[in-house]
Every structure is written in C-alpha cells, then in structure tokens.
Amino acid sequence: MKRTAKLISVCLALLLVTAALAGVLSACNRDGKNADEFVIGTSAGIEHADRSDYDFDQLSAGLTQQALVARNTDGTYSPLLAEYAVSEDGRDYTFTVREGMCWDDGEPVDAADILFTLEYADAHDSGGWLSSVTDTAGETTPSKLLSADVSEDGGSIVFRYREADVRALSDLTVLRIMPEHVYRGKTIETATPAENRVGCGVYRFESYSADAGTITFVPNEHYPYDGDLAVKRVVVRLFASDGTLQLAMKNGELDTIWKYSGGVEPSFASMLAENGRANIIPVASDNLPAVLAFNTSASPFNDADLRKAVVYALDYSRFASLFASEYAETPHAGFVPPTTLGYTPDTETLSRDLSRSRTHLEAGLARTGLPSLSFTLSVNADNALHLSYARQVKLQLEEAGISVTIKTMNQNDFRASTTNSGGNVSHQACIIGYTANGMKMMGGLGTIYMDGGHAVQGVSQVFDAAFDAILDRLSAAATEEDYRAAAKECQEWYAANFPAVALFWDAQLQVLSPEWTGAHADADFGLINMTTWLTLGRA
C-alpha cells in the first residue's frame, strides 16, 4: 500500500513537472514578429516612454511628433506639419497648418500651437525666437524673430525675421510643435506621462512595458491620410547591450536599428549586407564623426606651420579604410562635408605628404624655437572609436618625427578642457566628433567649434580678426548667394589656417530589413520619419 502511494506520488510529481515544462516550452520564442509589425531595435537608454525622456523624445520625433518642415538628403525642404511660403525679401515665412492635422487626442492642430511652441522654447530652452538671450558672459543675442502673428482663422502664422535668414528652414526641422491645450501652464517636466505622449504624427503611442522592453505605436486615427498604412504596429525593442542588438538584427528579429543622429558601424553594416539580412541605406549627413582639433591659442599649435606639419603627416585614406564605410570620402582642407549648405569643392583634397610636412615642421620649429614637435592629444575615454583614431594619429605622426602623448579623460573632464563651457580650454589638440546640429549652429559650417569667443564650444580657440569678419558676413547674409560667398571664404580660411581637420567624411549608414521597401531617408532623423511610414511597403 505504502509502495503504491509512493509510486502514485512520483507519477503525479512527474506529471506536474512535464506540464510545467510544456507550459514553459509553449511560452518560448513567443517574441517573433507579426507580418504587419515593424520592429525597431535600439540601445538608447529609454527609461520612461514620454517626452521628458530625452531618448524617447528623439525617437518619437519620427513617429508621433512633427516639425513644420523636414530636410531631404539633397538639401531641399518638404512641408511636414505646415505648408510654407517665403516673402521676396526673405524675411517673412508664412506657415499654414496642413488640412486635417489633429493631435492624437482629437484636438485640431492650429497656428496657436506653433506660437505656443516658440514661446515655450524661449521660456524653457533658451530658444531665442521671440525673446533675446543673454549668455553666461552677459552678452545678449537679440531674438531671431521680430514677430510671429497668427492669422484670424487660426490656420496660419507669419514669422517675421529680423533679417533674411537663409538657414531659417534648417532651424525649424528640429523644432517639434507642442500641443498648447496640453502644456498651457505646464512644462514637460510637470506634465503627466500621458500628456507627454500626445502627438500629431502618423502613429500614436500605444504602450510601454519595462518588463518586455518594448514600446508600441499604432496608427493615429486622426492623421489625415487616405491610404492604407502597411505597418499596423510599430514595436520598438529596447536593448541594453549593442552586442545583443546586433545579433537580433543579424538574425532577422528586427527591421531596422535606430540611433539618434547616427547610423550603424560600417563593419556591422557590411556583415548584414553580406548575409542578406539588411539593405544598407547611406544617408548623407552634415556631421563629422572624426575630427583632429588644434588649440590655436596655445603652444605649440598657435603656430600655423606646426599645425600644417601635422595635417600633411596624416594618411587620410588609411583612416577611411580602417574606420569608415565604403561611402566615405577623403576630406578637404575646407573641413565641412559636401552636404553642408555653402560647401565649396575648391579647397585642396587632403593627403599625406611627408616632405611638405617636414618643410612646415622645420619652419615652425625655427620660428618657435622648439627643439622638436611633441604634444598631448586629449581623448574622451568613454569613446572607444575616438581612442582608436588617437592611436592611429600617434602612429602616423611618429613616422613623421612628431611625438604624441595620448591623454585619456572622462567625458566631463574632456569637455571641461576642450570647450569654453569649462571656463579653461587647456588641451593642445584633441580627437572629437561634431554633430550635424552643432555644425549648423550660429553661422553654420562648424564655426561654433572654431570661434574662441563662443560661449559654449570654441574647441579650436580661434581669435582672429579675419575669421570674425567672415562670421559677421555669414550672419548678415540675406540671400543664398551672399551666404554661399561667405561660406566659401570661411572654408578657404579653414584651408589656409587649419584650426581643425576632418580625418574622413562619411555617410550615416541606416539598415533596413529586405522584407520592407520604400523607406525615405531624412537628413535629420534617418529612416524613422513621417514620410517613411506613408511610403513603406512589404517588399
């Protein structure tokens, strides 16, 4: 009897274990994709999926939020939330909200929302649209606009600029319009998560699960689109490790990878292309991922010949072959990449010329009285790629008889010693990357990174009357011709003085699963943008 009871207990236990095992096995691998789902993988550290989270805010720019206009990769602009018209003198921009545009809570989008967004940016983000901005040094920059007038019917708004601004549309591509009815009397920090998720894009926020590591978006039923969207649900999968993210893409679990203001690494893109898991879409961009910047106000690089000795000792094709994609180009002495407004191809293409380097080195050493050229190269230790660039710079320069000591620093110390924000620019030279937004700021062409008087940047510490005059001409340019002329002067000045050199120019590599076709590349937001959702289809 006892034996039978024991047998029955063992059988029951086995049955229980088998049932549990079957349950677990049936639960395994339930994370597969549905046919009408588009899965985006990202390793951005999204903590709470609403606009108060910086990374979510950037991601939702291509899903649930809209700016007034979008910039295409050929440098032209397309209406997004509003149609626009420019007056003949280039000072008045009229924006008319496109027919039927609604917030995803059902409220219509109107010009008052646009005005509210300008006021909000002025009050909370030093926008400088309608109010002047005073920096920490006490210098005041007048507002960009003299006025912003909403039409009587509430459908249009006219921006009246202080002076014609050829880069006005460029500034507006990143200004996402906010719903006044949600944020009136509140800020993004004080609004509830639900309020911070209200948008007017093609999709609307559906859910966020920290346990599942997913954010889902579904079509915004209020978006004025008559067609049938191919993607019925956008699932954003959050990864903590780039390694797992890449494996997931490589194994066909993802349709694309999202990274703010960047693409995937060239070596990974090539691997995906080789195994047929993704099509590579190069997106021309204004950013410079690899820059060697000199401190032109301190020894030894306050001497132009010594800067040139370094510039001509570097092997730019080697940098491109080691670190860049197949779409990379050898940089020019004019510094800015070809997608930049006002770019001129007329400056010299950089190449290694050791005899030229030696001539400049000898001239520089004779003038400065230094026995040899040796300098410290500062690098942000958190950026592994920049460390690799620094090692390659050291290797190449030492072949030319220039001694380099690499100084690795944490991000805070690096910023403090290379930019004016720290109050004491102490580097001699550094490896740094310049963002597309930074390259566009103030007069554009990366001038904020050169100008020693800039309140925040000023990496190259340029204090030069001729350069200041060019800056004035860039700011005062009323027409595109004026701007292009000033931009050409600026690049020629860069080519003659070398405050910094780009180690290579490269495109941002976006990847898309071969299961999809029709993605649109946007110069600011990559593949994740409003047009993509309207044109995307199954391959």
Partner: protein
C-alpha cells in the same frame, strides 16, 4: 552567541563606514560636487540652475548638517534624488529590485544545490572519471567571463536553436498574473539565471570538493563506511555536515558577487533591473543613483552575512551542544 553579537556589531560598523565613504566621495573627488551629485555637466547647467541645485543639495550648509541630512535621507528611505532621472533613488531601486531578485535568488539556490551535489559527487572518488570531468569543466567555466557566457547562451539557444527568448522578462502584452504569463516569465528567466549559475557555481564547487575530499579521509567517515554507509547517504549525512560551514559562508558572500554579476547579465539580456540601473548610472555619471545602489547592495550583503553567521552557529555541532548544556 557573544561571537555572533560581535559579528552583528562589526556589520553595523561596516555599514556606517560605507555610508561615510558614500557621503564623502562626491565632496572629496576633484571637480564640482554639484556636477557630481546631479550628473549634469557645465554645458547644460545655467548659473541659475547651478545655484538652485547647490541649495537643493544642501551644499551651502555646514558639513555636519549635510551629513545629518544625508543620514536622515538614507534611514528615512529616500536614498537621495537623481536629477538626471528626475526621481528619488529609493523609487528607482524599488522599481528595479524585484527584477534583479527574480534572477539572483533562483540562481543562488540552483548554483548552491549544483555545487553541493557536484562537489560531493566529485569528492566521493577523487581523480576518478567523474571528478576529472567535473573539475576540468568547472575550471574551464570559471575562466569564461560572465558576459561571454551569456552571449554564447543567447547565440546557441535564442538565435541558433530558437528555443528561448533573447532578452527582457516577458513577451509584449503578457500579463505575468496569468498561468500563461507565468510560464512566459519562466521562459524569459531561464537564460539569465543559467548565465549567473554558470558564472558562480565553479568556485563553490571547487571549494566544497576540496573540503569533502579532505573530510573523506577522516575517521568518522571511515567508521561510517565500515558500517556499510556509502554513496549519497555517506556524502549528505556524514561528510556535508562537517564541511558545510565554510560552504555556507561562501554561499552568503556569493550573494554579493551575484548582485554584482547581475550588472552584466541584465545588460546582456536587457533586463530592466538594478544591475542595469547601476550600469546606466556609471555611464551617465549619476552619482546619487550609484550611492543609493551601493547602500542597498551593501545592506543586502551585510544582512546575508549576518544571516549566514546565524545559520553557521545553528549548524555548528559544538555550538549546539554548548547551547543545550546551558
């Protein structure tokens, strides 16, 4: 018992020392404590914001007052405030700790049982086939970094065989309160737990095997053998009670290592736990979060150590006899 009370006192002193170091570090490190304690750098902080943080952090108060406020915050359960994540650190840890414990506790139990079973089995016949295979395996496993072990498991079981999910704690839309949700959670936990088990079992196995081998030559074991006691019964009834004390002590300490290991495991498997919070705080230089996590992890480790001491006391035959005599 006196010894045990002394251990509790030492643990409390250690905890206090940790709190002092935690408080002093951001104030002693080179750089501005406002930037360290907020995690922001000078580029994003206006003078106005800087001043408001300076006051909010109490940096305008005397050091003794700052320390008193800090202690009040720790013992009041706040654990500081993360300006970067705009949340008090206790809530952040409270949200993340359950996910970490879902991995660490089962891993601790499984690795302890595995090490116990394997260690005793290997010691039964030293340098036999079982012992050689297990010891070599443990030595190899011990040499594999946790990150690599996790990635190998993901590559084989998730992307290769497609048997198990490659990350997170559940499938989208799954309610863990249902039976289906529970099975789904278990399926998601298998690989992270397995990784932590692989990383923490070898040292425990090695230690128990060596102690058990030594014990198997003791007279009480030989006597048991002469009475015909062999195999599992001999190992668990006669060998383990006499070598279990250091093993238990090691298991207690192992808990701390597992919490540390969860940083890697949660990163590989994208689990939104405390390990990932620590990892993000390190890269964001979010010092208040790091301080809070360090406090909680230290409290856990010291708590487990004290508890292990108590278990050792209860398991110690000499101490038991002494208590009975009293």
């Amino acid at each position: 018992m006196k010894k045990y009370l002394r251990h509790i006192l030492i643990a409390l002193t250690a905890f206090l020392a940790i709190l002092v170091v935690n408080f002093a570090l951001p104030r002693m490190l080179p750089g501005d404590p406002v930037f360290l304690l907020t995690g922001f750098d000078s580029e994003v902080l206006s003078q106005e914001l800087y001043d408001s943080y300076y006051t909010a952090l109490g940096l305008d108060q005397p050091l003794s007052r700052q320390f008193a406020d800090y202690l009040a915050d720790v013992f009041g359960g706040g654990l500081g405030f993360s300006y970067r994540l705009n949340s008090d650190v206790a809530s952040l840890i409270g949200e993340r700790l359950p996910a970490t414990l879902q991995i660490v506790l089962p891993a601790l139990i499984i690795s302890t049982l595995l090490a116990m079973g394997a260690g005793l089995a290997a010691a039964r016949k030293p340098r036999g086939i079982t012992d050689t295979v297990m010891t070599t395996g443990a030595a190899l496993l011990g040499a594999v970094p946790t990150f690599l072990a996790g990635m190998i498991l993901v590559v084989v079981f998730s992307f290769g065989l497609g048997w198990l999910p490659y990350g997170n704690l559940s499938s989208p839309g799954m309610d863990v309160g249902t039976i289906e949700g529970l099975f789904d959670r278990i399926a998601h936990l298998i690989l992270p737990i397995a990784t932590l088990v692989l990383a923490t079992t070898p040292p425990k196995f090695m230690m128990l095997r060596a102690s058990a081998e030594k014990a198997s030559e003791e007279k009480y074991v030989l006597y048991a053998r002469s009475r015909g006691v062999e195999g599992t019964r001999l190992s668990f009834r006669h060998v383990f009670p006499n070598v279990g004390q250091p093993f238990l002590a090691m298991t207690g300490l192992n808990f701390g290592a597992m919490l540390g290991g969860s940083v890697v495991v949660e990163t590989v498997f994208s689990v939104n736990g405390m390990g990932l919070l620590v990892s993000q705080a390190v890269s964001d230089l979010d010092y208040p979060v790091l301080q809070g996590c360090l406090t909680v992890i230290s409290a856990f480790i010291l708590g487990v150590t004290v508890l292990t001491d108590l278990l050792l006391l209860l398991a110690d035959p000499a101490a038991r006899r002494k208590n009975r005599a009293h």
